[in-house]
Symmetry: C2
Subunit: 151 residues, 2 copies
């Protein structure tokens, strides 16, 4: 996906979303920061550029994007929703130590068809949790990882 504002604007228009300044910036942020940010992270990340920005706009914008299929929702955390600009089917691994969320390829369509015959499946999510390699290494070395969201 390209980062040019014009292309972003066109991308929104194509989906019948009016390309306001705020919406373009949120879309740009999601493309640049693909670590599955929270609404608050997006808000904080854009506040410098858009001093008048409101958190309501972040939520409104995200919900608009979700409805049009432009972003994907992750409910991998119990308290906060995360947003993914990559809508192609893939699995997610959350490191419980550092909080980072990793993508991994997975062919979700290849299984679980028999028992769900008669069901209309619209959305599929695969969430794994555990400890990432970096944190495993640090734990073995007796180090203590900070819980932050660095991919």
């Amino acid at each position: 996906m390209d980062l040019q504002a014009k292309n972003l604007s066109a991308e929104l228009s194509k989906r019948n979303i009016r390309p306001s300044y705020q919406r373009i910036k949120v879309l740009e942020y999601l493309i640049k920061n693909q670590f599955h940010p929270t609404a608050d992270q997006i808000f904080t990340g854009l506040q410098g550029e858009i001093p008048t920005l409101s958190k309501s706009t972040i939520y409104n914008t995200l919900n608009t994007f979700i409805q049009s299929g432009l972003v994907r929702v992750l409910n991998i955390e119990d308290n906060e929703t995360r947003y993914d600009i990559i809508t192609e089917s893939h699995g997610h691994f959350k490191c419980e130590t550092c909080g980072a969320i990793f993508n991994f390829k997975i062919n979700i369509d290849s299984f679980a068809t028999e028992e769900l015959k008669g069901f209309k499946v619209i959305d599929k999510n695969v969430y794994f949790k555990g400890v990432c390699p970096k944190c495993l290494l640090n734990i073995n070395q007796g180090k203590n990882n900070r819980k932050e969201n660095v991919l």
Copy 2:
């Protein structure tokens, strides 16, 4: 799993959870009502039997059960946590129309190993969403389903 109070008590003791009256009742509720209830549903369902019951106790108890591996958490909803007494690996399908959550067999271990080499995987969840057969039928007949949690 048996429903006898003695067995429930023993089941808790085995896991070093003191078998209080409230805990036995919550466990009993989870065994009897396997529709993946919310904390509030458990609370409401037990209030008649235990008039002094507090919602704090529900949450405390559930968190104790989770820690010991006696129940499984479902984050398939964006707002409310659901609890599952069946801890064996299986997938979940949520009908967006009636709200019911169905189990389905799935061999989660059979895939997604290559890319996660070096990761320590502790927990795996597969969540599908869509419309269940009953609701599909009603939709086709022009009926309107109520959103309730009947399995």
